[in-house]
Amino acid sequence: MIRVVLPAHLRGLARISGEVELDLQAPVTQRSVVDALESRYPVLSGTIRDHVTQTRRPFLRFFACGEDLSHEQPDTPLPEAVVSGTEPLLIVGAIAGG
């Protein structure tokens, strides 16, 4: 079970409380996680990655296991600790002006 922590604004938009748990088949990647999030919560389409270019929005970052994964390729497999659910994938908004 993949655990995803979303920023508060997106939790509010999608009416989510707490972490999101996703059951995904390998390989688990940033792309497959965001695909699953958008499938379950259609309102999140375009909020994490751009609607048109499908690239990560510039003020959002991906972290897991104490590492910044933001600049990994979208199809790079996520760390095993994320795949196993030991560690969550953190989707974090940049702290830029509050």
Partner: protein, 414 residues
Amino acid sequence: MMPLQYRSSRAGILGSPRWGGQMSNVRVLVGTRKGAFILTSDGKREHWDVSGPHFAGWEIYHLKGSPVDPNRLYASQSSGWFGQVIQRSSDGGKTWETPGGEVMPKPDAPPAGKSNKFAYDTSAVTGKPLTTHQWYDGTQHPWEFNRVWHLEPSLTDPDHVYAGVEDAALFRTTDGAHTWQEVAGVRGHGTGPMWQPGAGGLCLHTIILDAKNPKRMFIAISAAGAFRTDDGGTTWRPINRGLRSPYIPDPNAEIGHCVHHIAMHPNRPGVLYMQKHWDVMRSENAGDSWEEVSGNLPSDFGFVIDVHAHEPETIYVVPIKSDGEHFVPDGKLRVYRSRTGGNQWEALTKGLPQADCYVNVLRDAMAVDSLEKCGVYFGTSGGQVYASADAGDTWSAIVRDLPAVLSVEVQTLP
């Protein structure tokens, strides 16, 4: 007596007039930097209920109701972090949905609709955007979608809405905001490479529909100018003759003027009023030419301009000190009213702070109701929403401490 019409703010026309003594209600839709607020009162406009914040923490650039179905509201919810969402209400703002869901979910269930995709039209040949625009440094820059600045519901169909966006383009939905398509003729008419962003970005912020001529529409872009279509949006042309902007390379250029807002009385669609970056302007011929009517204003810089609901020659502006000092002159918040369509202006101060006030009033933050005594409303960067129930003679604050106000619209309801 000239027949009066129900007006749901700047350009909307509906049915018959609403008189203060006939149990009318007023609903003020306020967009702020950190959410939306809905203020309601009866026709006396003395006591107000405040609902909100809706979409707390998000920038709400604009909300507006359908003139056909006033309980159908649309809201532009955006964030520099998370992009653009369009929200829709079918009950006057009590509940909201993201359009496109098959079934209206329970209040605590995730919304079923998608956020909204605004994809610029591209060339069928190259697959690339139709044009580039000028960047601040004069180089050409591709169009990049940032947000919806203004939503303008159709005068005849509650599912039909226009959206003015940044980077400047016009979009249209015909399915209640589920899907949006670009009105490509705006960017495609040829002057796009000369448009450049103003301080707030390259935004299409004003959309005026002509109730007497459904094929005619006006838009304004900062900093490009004003444009008009006479064929329902297929073709467009600049309407900037007479505008003079000494701070651009060619002060009399056809393109490049920073138009801040345009207003029109729905019963007299040939007459337009404009608050430009500097200068208040008037056109008698649907924008074919403009003349300055700044007259005795203490400053002719400003953002808002609006027209009295029943007196097409009575207009309102809020002078701002300068383009570098975005606050009211002399620490005094003054609305200026002209009963002569410009040139002769009177300061309206009763009930407004006249010392130590340094707020701004942004371009979409003024509106009028259509009660017998026309109500005038505006919101400030300090979070106050002021109302006058007597066409500007006296003012009071409905609320004082909202987040910075981005937009104000008014609905006069049965």
